[in-house]
Symmetry: C2
Subunit: 220 residues, 2 copies
């Protein structure tokens, strides 16, 4: 990917016109790329020198097609997007250290037991906290309106009552399935996500305060 | 795809670093893209304005991630490369009108019957002829050395003998499965491919002399 930007642009435009499988007319390419024929011709020469495209000039016009080198690149791209559930919402949040409230709640026997019963796994007794921007906080509100949560019932422990907690499924950085918990007696504002997993997410992912992660908002 | 080249380059570089699923550090991006942080920052702003990426600046550094708009683009790219058998060779050839020899041979009863028996389909009695460049002609020679052909036996008809014909599988423009035939008593040089299909390929594909098509050299 140390090719110059115009070469990448050419490869992708060609792919979109089917140039991975058949020769594409230079005329059609220059239309899609909004580039003059002279500009396109310069880009094609450059990309051909680098081995990313092949071209042929016939009686009628110039044709361009992706080379095997470009197909390798497109295959890497394909791998990098594999497993994405199209249409799911993703939010970005910044890791911060909470006041330990999440850990306090999540380590109550009543919650550990409830979580096990409702979700089927034993949570690490602590949460990973993320601070969201306004737009993402709004996406979370929308999501919670659409997805029906699993609910951990409230209980009585150590002389006090603990309220219900809603649980929703998420994926962190597109690879770790986890849960987002929302105590109905809320201790954080709407701009915070509290994430729960079987392991210590902070350690597992090597996260420190101030780092940014992506959370895919899923449904059961 | 009327975005400017630098935006496309940014989207693809981000995808290769996993930015479809998680936020990527601007530092890592500028390294991959071989661009200064200032240049990258300008590209990120432009791509963010156009809705292709999202960025977040935390205490530690700037992070960039692909937006849903980019994911749609990547999905189109994925579709355009779907069905490719990686590692197969592709050659490009220019359509030309032969001297009718292909049609003459392919319309002999002996060949029609032999083709049906050996390949299992009834060919249109005529060939689509392609002229190849030197490099592609060489790829065809290599291919014929590796793939074992099906052979239509010779026969006697109208007072003369007709020789054996080798048949190899190909795909035209990544979508039409066809056959390449090589009479062992060759009437064309090595720079020509003669293609056979159940239908008239020239009509089916709307081809005229001078147009360029791609042929994927396959194996049985």
């Amino acid at each position: 990917m140390k090719a110059d930007p115009s070469v990448t642009h050419l490869i992708i435009s060609l792919a979109l016109l089917g140039g991975a499988k058949k020769p594409v007319r230079a005329k059609d390419l220059s239309r899609l790329m909004n580039a003059s024929r002279a500009t396109l011709s310069r880009w094609v020469s450059r990309a051909e020198e680098l081995g990313f495209v092949r071209s042929a000039t016939s009686k009628k016009s110039q044709y361009v097609m992706l080379s095997e080198k470009s197909l390798e690149l497109l295959r890497s791209i394909r791998e990098s997007i594999e497993g994405i559930e199209w249409g799911e919402k993703v939010v970005m949040g910044e890791v911060f250290s909470g006041m330990g409230e999440g850990a306090y709640y999540m380590s109550r026997k009543g919650y550990l037991r409830g979580f096990m019963e409702v979700v089927g796994c034993r949570p690490f007794p602590g949460t990973l906290n993320l601070r969201l921007g306004h737009e993402d906080a709004w996406k979370v509100v929308e999501w919670r309106r659409k997805v029906v949560p699993k609910v951990i019932p409230g209980f009585y422990e150590e002389g006090r009552t603990f309220g219900e907690v809603e649980v929703y499924p998420v994926t962190i950085n597109g690879e770790i399935n986890a849960f987002s918990v929302f105590p109905r007696r809320r201790h954080y504002g709407y701009d915070v996500l509290e994430l729960v997993h079987e392991e210590n997410l902070r350690e597992k992912m090597g996260l420190r305060d101030g780092e940014v992660v992506a959370v895919t908002l899923k449904s059961w």
